[in-house]
Structures are given as C-alpha cells and as structure tokens.
C-alpha cells in the first residue's frame, strides 16, 4: 500500500499517552502507535459516512418523487406549545 508522510502537531497530553503505550510495549514506536490509532479512529468514524450518504439518498428521493420524504405533520403545534411552558 502506498503511504505518505503527514506532519501533525499534537498536544503534550496526547503525546504522553502515546509514549506510555510505546514504553509499555503496546506499540514499537510513536509512528506505529499513531498509525494504528488513526486507523482505528477512521474505522470508528465510518458512521459519519453513513449519515452523509443517507442524507444524499433522501435528497435523491425528493428529486425523483418531487416531494420531501420528511414530513413533520403536527410538529409545529407541539414545538410552539412546548416553548410556551418555559
């Protein structure tokens, strides 16, 4: 796999944590620790892609059918009524 070098600034707290993991032998170097943790973070963040794709799909449905797939019937009355209470 082709890889690239990316310069990144980290705060001391994060770096201390990375160093701790290296000292404990979890990773062999700062570089490996960062690489593995970023990969895990990217995997974890895949739900963001699902949301973006989902919103695009809803926009497509609207374009195709000519009407919004999101109807909040009766919601305004409820919202205004709740605002009245506080």
């Amino acid at each position: 796999m082709v890889s690239q070098t990316v310069p990144v600034r980290l705060d001391n707290e994060t770096l201390s944590f990375i160093d701790f993991l290296v000292e404990q032998g979890v990773y062999s170097s700062r570089s490996e620790a960062l690489r593995e943790l970023i990969k895990a973070g990217v995997e974890e963040a895949k739900w963001i892609v699902k949301i973006i794709e989902g919103a695009n799909k809803l926009l497509e449905i609207e374009k195709k059918t000519g009407e919004t797939p999101i109807k909040l019937t009766g919601a305004l009355k409820q919202l205004l009524k709740e605002r009245e209470r506080f």
Binding site: K50, L58, L59
Partner: protein, 165 residues
Amino acid sequence: MSYIDTSTIVAALDPEDPRYHRTRKILEEEEYKVISELALAELANVISRREELVANIASKLGLTRELAVITIILYIMRKFKLNYGSTREFSKTPPLGETYAPIAEAIKLSPKLKLKTLNTLHIAYVKTLKNKGQPIRKIITVDKNFKKSKNQIENIAKTRLHIIE
C-alpha cells in the same frame, strides 16, 4: 444573512400548518441562512418523537434510529441550505461566574425581553453569533411569542424580526 428559528424549519416540513407553503418559499428564496445549535437540539427533539418516521427512514437507509435522526437533520440542512453557526465561547457574568456565551447573553437579555426561556435563548444566540462576526440582518420565525418584544429585540439585536403569519 438571516437567522432561521427552528419554528420556521418545522413549519416548512409540516403540511398541516397553514404557513407550510409560505415558509418553504421563504427558505428557498433567502440566500444566506444561519441556524444555531439550539435549532439543532430542537430539531433533534421534534424528529425523535416522530417514531414511525424515524423507524421508516432507519429501515430504508439501513441505519440505527439514532443515526437516522442525525441523517434527517443533515438532509434538512442541505435541502434548505442552512449553515450552522458555531458559538464556541465562554463569557464572564460577574459575580455569577463564567458561563457559555449564549447563556451569558440570555441572562443579560431576560429582564429586558421578558420572553419564554427558549425564545430568549434564540435571541441570545443571534447576539452571540453577531458578536462573532456573523452579519445577521434578519430573524425569521413563525413563533408569535416574539411579537410582544419585537421593538426591544430589533433594538437590542440590531436585527429585523420577520414573523411569518
């Protein structure tokens, strides 16, 4: 730039409301629109309680219900080209202490506006966003509760208040 109150967005998606077409037209015609995190929270709340809608969208898109709610919010923001204005800032309210900037504004505005809490908070967000450099000229709402303090809102926030009736 216009600040869009949550009520305007909800009206534009509520076919039962008589302002449905008017609010849609206004949202489509207004060029630069900003919403606050308060609008995001109110929208999440309104959408979450439409359980059938959320379940239907979740199943259609293969998402959990939690993700479906955020997906619907993102769709609404893209549909009406709404920009989220962030207010990451804290302010001092001596001698009470440090609070989140919109809350500090709301504390200052409350005795002047005498509105309900959420209405006061929306005006506080307008002031905070303006202090952060957002050129807000107009507040667009369908909530008539703002009406009684229209002059004060316009004077204090230096912003026109447009209530869609």
